[in-house]
């Protein structure tokens, strides 16, 4: 059967008119790949790897979606041509979820534009890959090669280094950069990024940018980034546009020092009020915003931990950068206690995220004084109440958490009264977070339950001790102290 006959067969079977743009694609390519993911097409069979099979599946799963052509299946999502809004020439692209009744999500692009973008990107990618290959060959000729057997890394900052970013087995970014001593910054040769369908738009670009900026910080250069072709990649500009960052030297392919820091902090999601505090600390020569970003990038601290510590910890630098030594016991104890607070909340966040068996629950966290405010994407239960009870959390409800993993159980009544006072005037669910050390208090029930229940509060008990949390905090301190502030 010729291609034309197969195209006619698809139209007849599905009772639709295929727009010219997709018809040409079928005629010339049959099927293909765009942005690393398949575009379904011929042959005209009912297998799910063809447009005919996929569209039939869509019609069975979503009978109301009759006028769509499914051209990609990814998990329970389908990329479709929306024939209801298209014409004979072209059709817009939409995304349809098979297991949901939501209306199709418009992707803001016609099929022909999508294919053109892909063709252009392919050209860029091929030329970029060629450049990367050349750089790797040159490095090899100079004896510079990663040796995975003995983990030796012969590259110095000034050598061209090729890096890749992967998310869940997919390569989302490739780049090559080096430290250039002539302008004391990072010079980027190739910057190729793509998307992982399960993550937010632009995350490949964000991952690469974070990688480059972290390297700039680690190598001790200024944070200035220059692209060799004097052109900032469109994907980068698109990300910067979302952050509302305008570059002064965009036409010269330069992101200057301060712009880079601003990008770095936006990439990692540092709260604006936290940034203001960091700026004050910078003036006092305590720490730098890029230093903080670097620690988050290296996963020494999570973003909400940093946000909380910046607002609440005394001697911020000592706690975040692990500068206190155990031999100065009192300072060290204080740092540990604040580190423990931040970490205990992270444990609660992880608990919330996995509390639903079928899918991960997304959390949105903000910091209000010394309280964590959490909103969730789905109803769930947290079984950290005492006596096998669970705390129900509803979608749309805010959970306000005061993290207090106490180690030294002294002046306890006074302390709990302060804990209760911190929630005054707040709505929603309110909890105090303790470690299981609190259960060792002989009069725990009488003191706590009466005080807490009077004020409509709950307490959650993390199933670990303060000592166990301390160990984790100590390992964070060890990692953090290796880096400059």
């Amino acid at each position: 059967m010729t291609k034309q006959m197969q195209i006619s067969l698809i139209e007849t079977e599905l009772k639709v008119r295929i727009p010219n743009s997709y018809g040409d694609f079928l005629w010339h390519r049959g099927s293909g790949v765009a942005f690393g993911l398949p575009i379904l097409g011929l042959p005209a069979t009912y297998e799910f790897s063809t447009v005919l099979g996929a569209t039939s599946l869509l019609r069975i799963a979503r009978p109301e979606c009759q006028n769509y052509l499914a051209i990609r299946i990814y998990d329970d999502r389908m990329l479709c041509l929306d024939l209801t809004r298209g014409n004979n020439i072209d059709a817009p692209l939409v995304e349809i979820y098979l297991n949901s009744t939501d209306s199709p999500r418009d992707l803001g692009k016609l099929f022909s534009e999508y294919i053109k973008d892909d063709d252009r990107t392919k050209l860029e990618i091929n030329s970029g890959l060629q450049r990367l290959e050349n750089l790797i060959d040159t490095n090899n000729e100079n004896g510079l090669q990663y040796n995975h057997t003995d983990n030796s890394v012969p590259f110095k900052a000034r050598h061209w280094r090729v890096h890749r970013c992967c998310v869940h087995d997919l390569v989302v970014g490739l780049t090559a950069f080096r430290y250039n001593e002539n302008f004391n910054g990072i010079e980027v040769d190739t910057f190729l990024s793509t998307e992982h369908p399960n993550y937010e738009t632009g995350h490949g670009t964000k991952a690469l940018l974070a990688l480059i900026l972290a390297d700039a910080y680690m190598k001790g250069t200024s944070m200035e980034v220059r692209f060799v072709a004097n052109r900032i990649p469109a994907t980068v500009l698109s990300v910067l546009n979302n952050f509302e960052i305008k570059l002064q030297q965009e036409n010269e392919g330069v992101i200057n020092h301060s712009e880079s820091i601003s990008i770095f902090s936006s990439l990692l999601g540092i709260q604006n009020d936290v940034k203001a505090i960091i700026q004050e600390l910078e003036k006092a020569k305590e720490l730098t915003l890029q230093g903080i970003c670097f620690l988050i990038n290296r996963r020494v601290w999570a973003i909400e931990e940093i946000n909380w510590l910046i607002i609440n910890a005394p001697r911020t630098k000592a706690v975040i950068f692990g500068r206190d030594n155990p031999e100065v016991r009192l300072l060290y104890s204080e740092s540990l206690s604040f580190g423990r607070c931040a970490l205990a909340f992270s444990k609660l966040k992880e608990k919330i995220q996995i509390s639903s068996e079928d899918e991960k629950i997304e959390t949105q966290i903000s910091i209000r004084n010394d309280l964590f405010v959490v909103s969730i994407s789905k109803n769930c239960f947290i079984d950290w109440l005492s006596e096998d009870e669970s705390l129900p959390l509803k979608l749309g409800e805010t959970l306000t958490v005061r993290s207090r993993p106490r180690s030294a159980l002294i002046n306890i009544v006074e302390q709990i009264q302060l804990d209760i006072k911190a929630f005054e005037g707040l709505e929603g669910k309110k909890v105090i977070l303790y470690t299981n050390d609190i259960l060792k208090l002989p009069d725990f029930n009488s003191i706590y339950l009466s005080l807490i229940s009077q004020h409509k509060l709950n307490y959650l008990i993390i199933p670990v001790s303060s000592e166990e949390l301390n160990d984790e905090v100590i390992s964070k301190f060890k990692k953090a102290r290796r880096y400059r502030t």
Partner: protein, 430 residues
């Protein structure tokens, strides 16, 4: 910070387990101070403190002391800048009467042996732990005001040289990167002038470290000072002579023997040039982990002619790093395992250990020889390099009772740096 003070009774403090824990805490603190097995000792110190605190919370009795008093006690306890034990033993707390009034004092001493301090978690009080760190002012006290002009074509060395000069003039430690300069750069508008200024000031890594430092070791000349002093001067005493000439006896005597002129001593001002002892310009290094080294003395002596007839020994800086050196060198200054054992220590502590090892090495060779020329094969690791050359300077700058450098001329180091397959010699240090 808010602190609770818990008094521990004599009986409880003498409890066998606690005695061991207290001793362990003190031993670990001592070892940490000396840089011995820092990683393990920190764990031990931490564990012992934890046990003590728990014990104090269980057995101790809270004593109400004003924050100001606690502050005073803690300030006294931080006599050493890097260790603070979480307890004070009352019999060792000098002048206890300064902290407590008569009755309290008596009551406290009668039954208690120690006070354990526990941090009130998440409470904000007024207590500050003040570690002693007043280093910077000392760095700028020197009588050397002129710096050597270095002519180097190598861009890295030139920049490092600028970094040294910056540290010498401001007292800021030399760092991996000078964050302050980056900040200044950031705050300036991107004019050509400001860019050029930044380009000129920006700082580099420690590559070429020893070659650059060597150029700033010797002062061009011994510092001098011109002083005006009052000195005795003998002048003709006109008045006395005139008076004498009036007398008959003088005239007769002068006829037979010419009488000498009467002189008198007066005080006059005179300028004298005094040669001063050199007060070195000290710099510090800020390492990647934010730790700061001890002082490295530059411009600490004037140059002399090196003794070329000293016995030569070939020495590697750290063992086990470059195996090809094994057939070249006779010994190593630092064992690789000693440095590696300090993996949890700060880089400044690694530098300190290298300094101590190198100092011991130089002392030993000087005791056993009449002088020695060391060809020092570098094996990397910046803190070790800095520590070793700091030890060299300390050794050659040692003075005897008469204020003379008794090791000068007896110790020469020729740095050997690997370039390609060969080792090149850098300028000698002597």
């Amino acid at each position: 910070m808010k602190i609770t003070a818990l008094a521990i009774s004599k009986t409880d403090w003498k409890n066998q387990t606690i005695s061991v824990v207290v001793q362990q805490t003190k031993d670990s603190a001592r070892k940490i101070l000396k840089g011995i097995d820092i990683s393990i000792e920190r764990k031990r110190f931490n564990n012992s403190c934890r046990i003590l605190e728990k014990y104090a919370i269980q057995k101790g009795v809270e004593i109400k002391i004003l924050e100001a008093k606690i502050q005073e006690i803690l300030d006294k306890s931080t006599s050493d800048f890097s260790v603070l034990l979480p307890f004070v033993e009352l019999d060792k707390l000098k002048a206890i009467k300064d902290y407590f009034d008569g009755n309290e004092n008596k009551k406290l001493l009668e039954s208690n042996a120690a006070i354990v301090f526990v941090v009130d978690e998440y409470s904000f009080g007024n207590i500050n732990i003040n570690l002693r760190d007043n280093k910077r002012p000392e760095m700028l006290i020197s009588n050397i005001h002129e710096f050597n002009q270095i002519d180097t074509n190598k861009i890295e060395q030139r920049r490092f040289d600028e970094q040294i000069l910056y540290a010498l003039t401001t007292g800021d430690p030399i760092g991996w990167i000078n964050i302050e300069l980056v900040r200044q750069h950031e705050n300036k508008s991107e004019t050509t002038e400001s860019k050029a200024q930044f380009e000129a000031q920006k700082l580099l890594r420690h590559e070429g470290l020893i070659a650059c430092l060597r150029e700033h070791v010797y002062a061009a000349k011994q510092p001098t000072v011109i002083r005006e002093v009052m000195v005795d001067k003998s002048v003709v005493d006109e008045e006395a002579n005139e008076e004498r000439e009036k007398s008959f006896g003088f005239k007769i005597a002068n006829l037979f023997i010419k009488q000498s002129t009467i002189m008198k001593t007066i005080k006059v001002k005179q300028s004298i040039t005094e040669v001063l002892e050199i007060i070195p310009r000290k710099i510090q290094f800020a390492f990647e982990d934010g730790s700061i080294s001890d002082y490295f003395p530059l411009y600490s002596m004037v140059e002399i002619v090196p003794n070329e007839n000293l016995q030569v020994i070939k020495v590697a800086l750290i063992s086990n790093r470059h195996f090809e050196l094994d057939s070249i060198v006779e010994t190593c200054i630092i064992r690789n395992s000693e440095i590696s054992r300090l993996e949890e220590a700060t880089i400044a502590q690694q530098e300190k250990l290298s300094f101590e090892k190198a100092e011991a090495f130089f002392t030993e060779v000087l005791e056993k020889t009449q002088g020695v020329h060391i060809e020092l094969y570098h094996t990397g690791l910046e803190p070790a390099v800095i520590g070793t050359y700091r030890a060299f300077l300390k050794k050659v700058l040692e003075k005897n009772n008469k204020g003379q450098f008794y090791n000068r001329g007896k110790l020469i180091i020729t740095p050997k740096i690997k370039r390609g397959e060969e080792y090149d010699s850098l300028k000698k240090w002597y």
